[in-house]
């Protein structure tokens, strides 16, 4: 018997339309005398009437979310080849350890003597990340990659201020992810673009011209968003350092060379690591992630507080340090994400981490090899963990990258990344990640090749895709023009 396909689900607010009393959860019995709120609180501050949303039974809640879940694509369903986002397998062991009551249940302001295990866990992950990057300092505070970028740039700003050197500019390659320039501006700098050379990496001569005493830092993604390694990275770092600047490395693509090369040897002063990419913590439908930042000696004094310190077998928290940039967020980081990352690192170890990068790079090159010819490669150089095609062959049939993406949905795959790099028009940035089996990668290539043929034989089929998804193409323009960002009952204006 075929299961009923779930295509839509009413909103929670449309449930229990008669607004009758049902109960989704039984609260602990009130075993103290009841209090009339207006007797102890200023009456004008008391909410009247009750919060206006329905009460529904437990099974109704479970069915609601079960049905909603069926409308999502997920890593467990198939290849999720979003370039730069690194949608790898989220190990179930991570989910087990992050739910240990001694980790999930502890309060961040318990006395230090009661949370020695948690402080040790933070310390152990710090040590592991220092080893893996070859960099001497680290903070685990940042909640995400972009938050890590900001943390790094604020440390650089602080280090420059400490030596009385005020600078105004951060240089960002034109291939960079959008968070890089946004971060620079957020930190009070002007973001200036460095052009890419003909081979897709940084144009060293242009950098040489632009790198002057106004430049605080150069932000580089290694390998870059084209999946190309900045092969002159040490020359770039030397140039920047010689002129008093700092090198910020965007570690979004770190998963391509773990265990093979060390950012510390490349001259990086700060690098964020997306634990939700390289170290397998789940993306959760858009967060929470974690973006620890490893730093060079020069930036260690400026790391955020609070910091974990160790004295023998005792761990403590250092809350104040005048040289620090201060705290970047509440408490010590997305701790339960850190637990997952440490679980992953300990499971894979030195040999597994290196093999992880090997297979990630191998798969990307397999995709490049199989799709080359059918799709255009603007930069035809060996790929690291991702490969960037464009739609210039298909646009001859008036089919664009977004159409190809939607058609992939019909074949049961998530589309590649298309919103950047901006220097490739109509980009299709593909990153298979190492955790899937090779047959899945091959099936994806077959689907891409089939779509390339469809673009020639039946372009309308591709342009009108998707045909087999819970909803058809969504009108995003209408959503922005006719804003409805919360549910309101039909009868109200």
């Amino acid at each position: 018997m075929k299961r009923r396909a779930i295509r839509s689900e009413p909103l929670f607010f449309e449930r229990n339309p008669r607004r009758v009393q049902r109960q989704g959860y039984m609260l602990p019995a009130l075993d103290v005398p009841e209090v009339e709120p207006t007797e102890v609180l200023p009456p004008e501050l008391v909410r009247e009437p009750d919060p206006d949303f329905p009460d529904i039974s437990e099974m109704e809640v479970v069915q609601h979310f079960h049905r909603l879940s069926q409308l999502n694509y997920a890593v467990d369903e198939g290849l999720y080849p979003l370039g730069s986002c690194t949608m790898k397998y989220n190990p179930r062991l991570n989910e087990v350890t992050a739910r240990y009551p001694g980790l999930a249940g502890i309060h961040p302001l318990q006395p230090e003597s009661q949370v020695q295990g948690a402080l040790r866990l933070i310390w152990e992950l710090e040590e592991a990340l220092k080893t893996i990057t070859g960099m001497p300092g680290v903070t685990l505070q940042p909640a995400a990659g972009a938050h890590g970028e900001l943390t790094g740039i604020l440390m650089i700003r602080k280090a420059l201020e400490a030596r009385g050197d005020v600078r105004q500019v951060v240089l960002v390659p034109d291939s960079a992810h959008g968070t890089n320039p946004a971060t620079a501006v957020f930190a009070g700098y002007r973001a200036v673009e460095i052009p890419s050379g003909h081979d897709g990496t940084v144009d060293l001569e242009a950098l040489d011209r632009m790198m002057d005493e106004t430049v605080a830092a150069v932000m580089l993604t290694v390998p870059n968003t084209l999946g190309l390694f900045e092969h002159r990275i040490t020359e770039i770092s030397k140039l920047v350092h010689d002129r008093g600047g700092f090198v910020y490395m965007d570690g979004a693509n770190f998963n391509s060379f773990v265990g093979r090369a060390l950012p510390g040897l490349m001259g990086a002063d700060a690098m964020h690591i997306n634990l939700h990419k390289t170290f397998s913590t789940p993306h959760g439908g858009g967060g929470p992630g974690a973006g620890p930042v490893t730093v060079s000696e020069a930036l260690i004094p400026h790391l955020p507080v609070p910091r974990v310190t160790r004295d023998g077998d005792t761990f403590s928290l250092l809350w104040d340090d005048p040289k620090s940039i201060g705290p970047m967020r509440g408490f010590y980081g997305n701790f339960l994400i850190l637990v997952r990352a440490l679980t992953y690192i300990q499971s894979l170890g030195a040999d597994g981490l290196r093999a992880m990068s090997d297979v990630a790079v191998l798969y990307a090159n397999l995709v490049r090899h199989r799709l080359k010819g059918a799709y255009h490669l603007k930069y035809d150089a060996p790929s690291m963990h991702e490969v960037v095609f464009d739609d210039s062959v298909q646009t001859r049939h008036e089919v664009h990258n977004t159409d190809i993406a939607k058609r992939l949905l019909d074949y049961g795959f998530h589309p590649p990344t298309m919103s950047f790099p901006l220097i490739v028009h109509g980009a299709l940035m593909i990153e298979p990640a190492e955790s899937v089996d090779p047959e899945e990668v091959e099936a994806f290539c077959d689907a891409m090749l089939a779509i390339a043929r469809e673009c020639e034989t039946d372009p309308n089929l591709v342009k009108s895709a998707p045909h087999d998804t819970p909803v058809k193409r969504v009108d995003e323009v209408r959503a922005a023009r006719n804003l409805k960002v919360r549910w309101v009952p039909e009868e109200s204006p």
Binding site: R47, L109, G330, A350, W487
Partner: protein
């Protein structure tokens, strides 16, 4: 080959052959030799049981507040956690999916966020709420920067109540400098509450006045008076909430004219987790929606006219606007917003009211019994209205008292002197619906023994 890597040795050889390569090393030839290493100086991979016991040993080295009567709050609260919440969070369709940029295959995540946004507008009594922010502290930062943008960068002072969680204020200081914003702090009056007149006099032309209610000391502020005082100066009024469960019983700031209500929604089904991940939220009035930070989901239709949701107003965001974005944020706390949505929909509207009433009743009961004990214990602000938290002073400094009460088997709260402020040195004690009458008895007994 490790089980989390999809290709075995045979597979690797076969793919290399297809690529015309002899060795995998050739794929890394673009990395200069001087930055390469042969292997990392760390242990090789380990089996699942070994990793489990290593992590479990760290977990067991902590004292879990579930095991003893616990009254810890100060921004992180222990509330009921329906089994349904973690069951939904464990669904791979939710936790292994990406940001819903492809709406056709992400309606689950998108509708959850739309429901979350609606729930938060109802609780804050404002018109729009975003898909969440990192945490409460960064939500305060975003509210100040938002106010600065709304007033077109012409007003560079932010007035901030000293009784906003001190950690939030420290985080604000980290960001304010590079944003060119001066932060002016207003201390509370002798009753622990803010005086609207002092707020009015704090700065000439501030971009915002930010207050927390219930505040760091647990005290409920005069929101109508503070909103009026703020509006008189032309600044935006910002309410910070660290104990979101209070919104079950206390009106949202939107009702009194607050322009922004933001803060921390960890109380809604998110584990304390040693401080994260938690759930920042941000709600404001519709007229300022284009200056709002963070992701936003809107309702639309698909080609066949069926209701469908998608991310919207992304022209505010970094992946479109780059250097001109309202914020560099590239994430929300999606899974935590899911937790809050499942939690709120389980508890229900009337249920949330009952839950908040339970917090209030237990807090009042404990306060009454502390007053009964009398010296050397006393409430620092005995006549000020509180929701589920209060400042307790006794025979010693906060850290000493916390330690002595812990030796009596009670986690009594958080030392107020962890951060500098114009409040007495004592314990910030929080009481929730999870604290049974026996917990209150244990607390009272411990107080009697420590004197």
């Amino acid at each position: 080959m490790h089980p989390w890597i999809g290709a075995g040795d045979e597979d690797r050889r076969r793919i290399l052959a297809e690529l015309g390569l002899d060795s995998i090393d050739e794929l890394f030839s673009s990395i200069p030799a001087e930055v390469c290493v042969d292997r990392l100086p760390m242990d090789d991979g380990r089996a699942e049981n070994a990793v489990r016991s290593e992590l479990q040993s760290m977990a067991l080295a902590n004292l879990s507040p579930e095991c003893v009567p616990s009254f810890l709050g100060a921004g992180v609260y222990r509330h009921v956690s329906p089994s349904v919440v973690d069951s939904v969070l464990s669904r791979a369709e939710f936790f292994t999916s990406y940001t819903p940029y492809q709406p056709e295959i992400s309606q689950g995540t998108l509708q959850v966020i739309f429901e979350f946004q609606t729930l938060m507008t109802r609780l804050t009594e404002l018109e729009v709420a975003n898909a969440s922010l990192y945490d409460g502290a960064t939500a305060l930062v975003e509210a100040v920067l938002f106010s600065h943008r709304v007033l077109r960068g012409k007003r560079n002072t932010a007035v901030v109540a000293e009784t906003i969680h001190p950690m939030y204020r420290q985080v604000l200081n980290t960001y304010a400098d590079s944003a060119g914003i001066e932060v002016v702090t207003v201390p509370p009056g002798p009753d622990g509450r803010l005086d609207p007149d002092r707020v009015r006099e704090a700065a000439e032309e501030p971009c915002c006045v930010a207050v927390q209610s219930p505040n760091f000391l647990g005290i409920v502020e005069d929101l109508p008076g503070l909103a009026k005082a703020t509006q008189a100066s032309g600044a935006l009024a910002v309410q910070v909430v660290t104990e979101a469960a209070s919104l079950g019983l206390l009106a949202g700031g939107g009702r009194f004219g607050f322009d922004v209500v933001c803060g921390e929604a960890q109380s809604f089904g998110v584990a304390p987790g040693f401080g994260g991940p938690h759930l920042g939220f941000f709600a404001c009035s519709e007229k300022h929606i284009r200056q709002m930070p963070g992701r936003l989901v809107g309702e639309s239709v698909d080609e066949e006219g069926s209701r469908a949701f998608c991310l919207t107003l992304s022209t505010r965001e970094q992946h479109i606007r780059r250097a001109k974005a309202t914020s560099n944020i590239c994430t929300n706390q999606g899974l935590m917003a899911l937790a809050a949505t499942v939690w709120l929909e389980s508890i229900g509207g009337h249920g949330l009211r009952r839950l908040a009433m339970s917090c209030l009743a237990r807090t009042e009961e404990l306060k009454r019994r502390i007053v009964e004990i009398g010296a050397p214990w006393q409430l620092a602000y005995p006549t000020s209205p509180t929701f589920n938290e209060f400042l307790l002073v006794g025979p010693g400094t906060g850290p000493e008292l916390v330690e002595r009460l812990a030796n009596e088997g009670v986690l009594a709260g958080v030392p107020s002197a962890l951060w500098d402020g114009s409040w007495p040195d004592g314990i910030v004690t929080a009481v929730t619906e999870c604290n049974s009458a026996e917990d209150l008895d244990a607390f009272v007994c411990a107080l009697k023994r420590v004197s």
